[in-house]
Amino acid sequence: MILRQFLSLRKAGVLGMNRRNAEYIMRFNRRSSFPLVDDKLLTKQLSLKHGIPTPPLYHVVSHHGGIAGFERALADRQEFVLKPARGGGGSGIILITDRRDGRFITQSGKMISKDDIHYHISDILSGIYSLEGLEDKAVIEGLIHPDQVFGKVTYEGVPDVRIIVYRGVPAMAMVRLPTRQSDGKANLHRGAVGVGIDIGRGKTLDGVRRSGGIMHHPDTGELLRDIEVPFWEKMLLMAAQSTDMTGLGYLGVDLVIDEKDGPLLLELNARPGLQIQIANRKGLLERLEMIDRAPKEIFISLEKRIAWAIQNFAEPNS
């Protein structure tokens, strides 16, 4: 009974947590490269060096003494994002869209006092949001104004595109759409909607929320399917490049599309989640094994890898 269930998962090419950890993360992601993606500041520096665009960096607070000076560093910037450099799962991130009378207004319209912001930065520095509870830095960077392509299927916040890249080949992709429940955040475990993207055509497929499949956005009611993602090939290229610059063979690349600047690299993830399989209604293991069987010469160049992925991972009937 249980074995039959396991077999049907295997037949569907589903990648499980244990196999992901043992055979992909541990095998293809060298421990020494983890800091490059765990620390968003390092990722940003690396991306700059490789010509991959990222949101502009305004300021970094690296110790408690620097908290007071943070407003001076902001100068007259009205909007910004405050996040921990080593945070995981979207925790500790605050989006500020406006400042009024020394107070800050978040994306969801909440007013935050100066003291609250200082307290939050202090929490970040203490490492409360960091993955290992180590001391951390607070990063202040530019706020993204998302391209309106996903406007109808987004409730506040910034939708982002997650691409899984295996050995430099884009293997699976989805877009994560904030909902009322996720509080404008694009994290699936907070209740955001994940929608698969057809790698071949750059068009959205059906969605998933929590563990259930959906066709429409829960807040806006709009159809999720068949939205054409702009800059698709460029995004695939940026994702594949991230593997080259970090040396991580199994990587989750998070991108956002800014209405002015186009696609920007938001962050990288060395332990990307498995929910993307549900958003695509497709097993990831199957794709990874296909990549392992791909002809050797495609791994020579970035463009060849992208072309191969587009050709092989196109959905047959969309």
Partner: protein
């Protein structure tokens, strides 16, 4: 499965397998340390009176049980009044000697507990040079006996013994010996007793023999010891009941107390009134039994047993050895089942703490402290405390809560509330903080689910480490830890699906 890991796991399984095999086969450990232990209690009471008046010295000597192959005397106690009591070996015997002025006392008693472990029988030792019972009977009687046993000369030792023993019942086999000889022999049997007559025959065929006094082990009260003849057949000792000529079967356990002619109990300077032996079956705690056996052994592995360390530290190791089972459980529950828990090993520490509080009190206190801590944490959230002082604040609160619980427990006599101090307070404080963050970030439902998962894992782990036979097994065979390491190696290589993933990826499985 990766080859090196598999081989390493096999190696880790072989270590305990060979060590336990050695202990069971060579050192006589029970295969299952929890199988019942046979033990016998022997009580001897000696009632006597002194010959002269007070102030006169007397001496009482009695054969006592002795540790030998297949039996271990693990405890001896005496009630000797004013008499001195000594145990001294004398030839093949262990003699208890009471001496001195009995003053008031007219009764002595002695108790021993005897552990039978038939598996531990080593190859029986042939008799060394010792004094066999003197040859009895005069010349003509000897000649008669010789004539009677000539016919058995061609038999092999074991059969010869059986045939000779059967003569006690008058069975001589075909063809029957001379009528007159048989008549004369029955005279001899009358003169020397059945035992004496048998001894004449057995000595003539050069069997080493011993006259033994002791008891057949059965629950009984006796005033006379059983007597039997032990005969060495060249392979092993056989025991003959002299009256019937029957051989005791192997299944009968005999407890020899005195070898030779010396009376089992004798007195000088007084008179014996009655001696009473009481044999009773005893159930021994497994722990005691193992301890006693291993403690007395000089074997290398026994010397290096955990039973050798002081008692107060043994207690710790009983539990410590089961922690690996707990972490193995956690590994299974997390990697094969997919249980959510707070922190990885928090449930194991909780399970250890439950040992002093009990399960229901432990879970109750745990829930109570976490709930109160959570409310407090909510309250102080507005105060914007830095991380480390905040956690320290929570730890202090947890300890304060412990103190209050202990005081309440003391007031109302609830021992479990006082044992609370052993709960892992740091872990509890971290749990409060994590619980708070989880509620904030993923909602109360997820937090409660994780809390329930942790409690369930802690309860299961607690139930497992409380299994006494399991504790005993690991304590007797600590090499089983290698087997756990082997299992963990295998588990660490498991890259299949988790049970929870059947639900999680249900949509995908159904599609195919």
């Amino acid at each position: 499965m990766k080859r090196p890991a598999l081989w390493l796991a096999v190696f880790f399984f072989l270590i305990p397998l060979s060590l336990i095999g050695y202990r069971v086969l060579r050192l006589g450990y029970p295969l299952l340390p929890t199988s019942p232990v046979k033990a016998w209690g022997l009580t001897m009471e000696i009632f006597f009176e002194t010959a002269g008046g007070n102030g006169k010295e007397i001496e009482i000597r009695a054969g006592l049980p002795e540790s030998r192959s297949g039996q271990t005397v693990i405890e001896q106690r005496d009630l000797s009044g004013t008499l001195r009591f000594n145990i001294m070996p004398e030839g093949l015997n262990q003699i208890g000697v009471w001496s001195g002025d009995p003053e008031e006392g007219r009764v002595l008693s002695y108790r021993a507990t005897i552990l039978l472990n038939p598996k531990r029988l080593r190859k029986p030792k042939p008799p060394g040079p010792e004094s066999f019972p003197a040859i009895i009977g005069d010349k003509s009687e000897q000649i008669l006996a010789k004539r009677l046993i000539e016919r058995f000369a061609s038999l092999k030792a074991p059969e010869k013994l059986k045939t000779i023993a059967a003569t006690a019942k008058g069975v001589w086999g075909e063809p029957a010996p001379d009528e007159r000889d048989l008549k004369q022999w029955s005279e001899i049997q009358k003169k020397y007793g059945a035992e004496g007559a048998l001894l004449i025959l057995l000595r003539l065929v050069d069997f080493p023999v011993r006259k033994v006094q002791g008891f057949v082990l059965a629950e009984s009260v006796a005033t006379q010891p059983d007597r039997w003849i032990a005969v060495w057949t060249g392979q092993k000792w056989e025991h003959i009941q002299p009256e019937t000529g029957d051989l005791y079967s192997e299944s009968v356990c005999l407890l020899p107390l005195m070898i030779g002619d010396t009376p089992l109990v004798s007195i000088s300077g007084g008179k014996l009134q009655e001696v009473r032996w009481n044999l009773s079956k005893q159930t021994l705690s497994q722990w005691r039994a193992h301890f006693e056996r291993i403690y007395r052994s000089g074997r290398f592995l026994d010397r290096w047993s955990l039973f050798g360390i002081p008692k107060e530290f043994q207690e710790i190791f009983r539990i410590l050895l089961l922690v690996p089972i707990g972490v193995l459980m956690i590994s299974v529950l997390r990697n094969i089942v997919g249980f959510p828990t707070f922190g990885i090993f928090m449930p194991v520490l909780m399970a250890l703490a439950f040992r002093s509080t009990g399960l229901s009190y432990g879970l109750g206190i745990f829930a109570g402290v976490v709930l109160m801590g959570y409310l407090l944490r909510r309250g102080i959230d507005r105060l914007r405390l830095l991380l480390v002082p905040r956690l320290s604040f929570l730890i202090t609160f947890v300890i304060l809560a412990f103190t209050v619980f202990a005081l309440i427990g003391s007031k109302f006599g609830v021992r479990e509330f006082m044992a609370i101090g052993l709960l892992p307070f740091v872990i509890l404080s971290m749990t409060i903080e994590r619980f708070f963050i989880l509620i904030e970030e993923s909602g109360a439902l997820q937090a409660l689910r994780t809390a329930a998962g942790s409690a369930a894992v802690a309860a299961i782990t607690y139930k497992i480490i409380q299994i006494d036979p399991l504790q005993l097994t690991f304590f007797v065979y600590p090499e089983l830890l290698f087997a756990i390491m082997g299992l963990l190696l295998l588990l660490g290589n498991y890259s299949g699906y988790r049970l929870s993933e059947i639900l999680r990826f249900k949509i995908l499985g159904e599609k195919s």
